[in-house]
Amino acid sequence: MGKKLVIDPVTRVEGHGKVTVQLDDENNIIGARLHVVEFRGFEKFVQGHPYWEAPMFLQRICGICFVSHHLCGAKVLDDMIGVGYAQGVEMLPTPEKVRRLGHYFQQLQSHVTAYYYLIAPEMIFGMDAAPEKRNILGLIEENPEMVKRVVALRKWGQEGIKLVMGKKMHGIASVPGGVNHNVTQEQIDRFLDGDDGLLDIDTVIKYASEALDVFYKFHEENREQVDRFADVPALNMCLVDAEGNVDYYHGKMRITDEDKNIIEEFDYHDYMDYFAEATEEWSYMKFPYLKKYGREKGSVRVGPLARVNNTKAYGKATPLAQIALERFHVYNNGKASNKTLHTNWARAIEILHSVELIKNLLGDPDLQKEELKITPTKEQWTGDGIGVVEAPRGTLLHHYRANKNGEITFCNLVVSTTQNNTVMNRTVLAVAQEYIGGQNEITEGMMNAIEVGIRAYDPCLSCATHATAGTMPLDVQVIDSKGNLLDSKKR
């Protein structure tokens, strides 16, 4: 009689997911799936709204990477009114840089949250540590000074989001063709020199570097485990600049293989020409893949690991991140890393990279200029737009259409967690085979391992299915092939 192991719901992941591991009579793994069983439907709700409202409305899909949704939507609006990149019109420097500034602050804040609040406890206490300890509260007890630094770093990121968006959460900055405000010298100085309760930029860089040290130490002590854990193949996809290195806000979509050969590179407006989406009855989350290569070979990984794999150099302007990137590439012998836990390494590199990008932007006089938006003529209206940005979790795409009155008639969102769906499922299977295969009893350690694998992607299951976010307790059930409950374990 076959058995099924159910981990439901997965903890410390945004949203609600469930894992089932199918065992045969000898407890061999015959399959593993990450089920995403929530549904929200923002794509439908937004229909009928004025098109310029979409970035304000749709950012509410997520309480963490809302700036990415907002900016992705803003790029769609640019297209729709006919002034965006799709029309070959250069966006004005001030709005583009103000938007980028918000984007980098968001990446910093989101990565710091994921890295320290959700992932670092595993690295510091070990995957097998008791769940009561293996969390942010455990970290506070163990190393209160570090947690204070993390809180200050996160606050700096949040204040930066407020600077651009007007609010720490779900603010308003982008309008079709630009932004509704610039940034003043006085505001910039607060972030460079620090202020009451706000770090100065040098301290921010110092604290941001610490994330890498946490990873290096963990890696040093657990090299074998880190490198062996869920080494799963996937292509790597991200937006790249003219030099072929990651650009978080805009660029071409580049997809590379394990040897870093470019297998596809295209204008993101052509996304639908390149990608198809498979569905499964057991999940609300779709499975996108490159049509040309089929589902098995054509599934991509997005997010920090994909971006770092794809990036040859960050350049001289961000020297500390550049050094960290080189170390990553040397370690992986110049090949793309498929090692799931290297995602955390990549995330730590990106924490530093975002801070250095912010520092450079804050020194850019364009931020303070007055020309805030391009106003198109009516004839330029296209009513159709696609926007792509690199959200903290990876490539994010919004596509809207509106009728001539300005009313949204169609909306499609392809979020990063959806892009990662196949590779996450591969990760779950790999971990299950390693930790659960052949065992009789399901231990905390096994459950943790699966969660560690999923959490490396920092998946936002809520925005991937457009469902509510939340953190849930863990419930494990063993179910036989007829659906009978054989064993259950709760915590």
């Binding site: 310029w52 409202e53 079709p176 405000h181 009155n405 300005g406 009313e407």
Partner: protein, 233 residues
């Protein structure tokens, strides 16, 4: 002729015939309102300005002051009635302030704050009144209309004096209408004026959107209370 009235036990000297809501504001007493606009004829549609006059509830924008009038404003009973009236307006329409472009310059939202409303005590009706967006410059988000009739009475075709906005239907099936032909004769300035006169985000100027950043929107800069007490609105 000078007369004396009493508001919340305070004697106030004023002129006969002045409107109670203005007399209160001129003496630093805030009364909420949604349809009344200082300097324009009273509409008396929203009742949010209700106070107790000689022991009876009455809409203060409709009351000319009289000698010896006794008015109660700052009592828990009056305040609760005002709040309830604001709540009914939220329950009656469909309001999603977080993504509404009127947020920060919306009188209804501002009155929600001023009356300390947290959530409506009345069931939300989620009324569905289809939007109307065919006019070139104006988008009517009908679910947000509070039927104050400001647009109906104060926005007219400049050439003929004809009304551009009207209310059709009765009771729950009432809805605001726009004459598209006349609306398309409006220039940008008139369209902006129509959207500004609407106390909520029902009349939307299609060219406006989220033109002000948070922190510099109308009521971020000066609250509705301050504006009213300064006699500005």
């Amino acid at each position: 002729m000078s007369i004396t009235i009493t508001i919340d036990n305070k004697e106030i000297k004023t002129d006969i015939g002045a409107t109670l809501i203005d007399v209160a504001a001129d003496n630093g007493i805030f009364i909420p309102r949604l349809c009344y606009m200082r300097g324009k004829p009273c509409l008396g549609t929203c009742r949010v300005c209700s106070v107790k006059v000689n022991g009876w509830m009455a809409a203060s924008c409709t009351i000319p002051v009289q000698d010896g009038m006794i008015v109660e404003v700052d009592t828990s009973e009056v305040k609760d009635i005002q709040k309830a009236l604001v709540e009914t307006l939220f329950s009656e329409g469909t309001h999603n302030c977080p993504s509404c472009e009127k947020s920060g310059r919306c009188d209804l939202q501002a009155m929600g704050y001023e009356t300390d409303m947290m959530v409506s005590r009345f069931p939300y009706r989620f009324t569905e009144r289809n939007k109307e967006n065919a006019a070139n410059l104006i988008w009517l988000e009908r679910d947000r209309c509070i039927f104050c009739q400001r647009c109906v009475n104060f926005i007219q075709d400049e050439e003929t004096g004809q009304k551009i906005f009207s209310i059709s239907g009765r009771g729950p099936s009432s809805r605001i209408e726009i004459d598209k032909e006349l609306a398309d004769k409006m220039n940008k300035k008139q369209a902006r004026a129509a959207s500004d006169i609407c106390p909520v985000g029902c009349i939307i100027d299609k060219e406006r959107g989220y033109d002000h950043a948070m922190g510099v929107r109308k009521y971020d800069i000066t609250s509705i209370r301050e504006r009213i007490l300064k006699g500005e609105q």
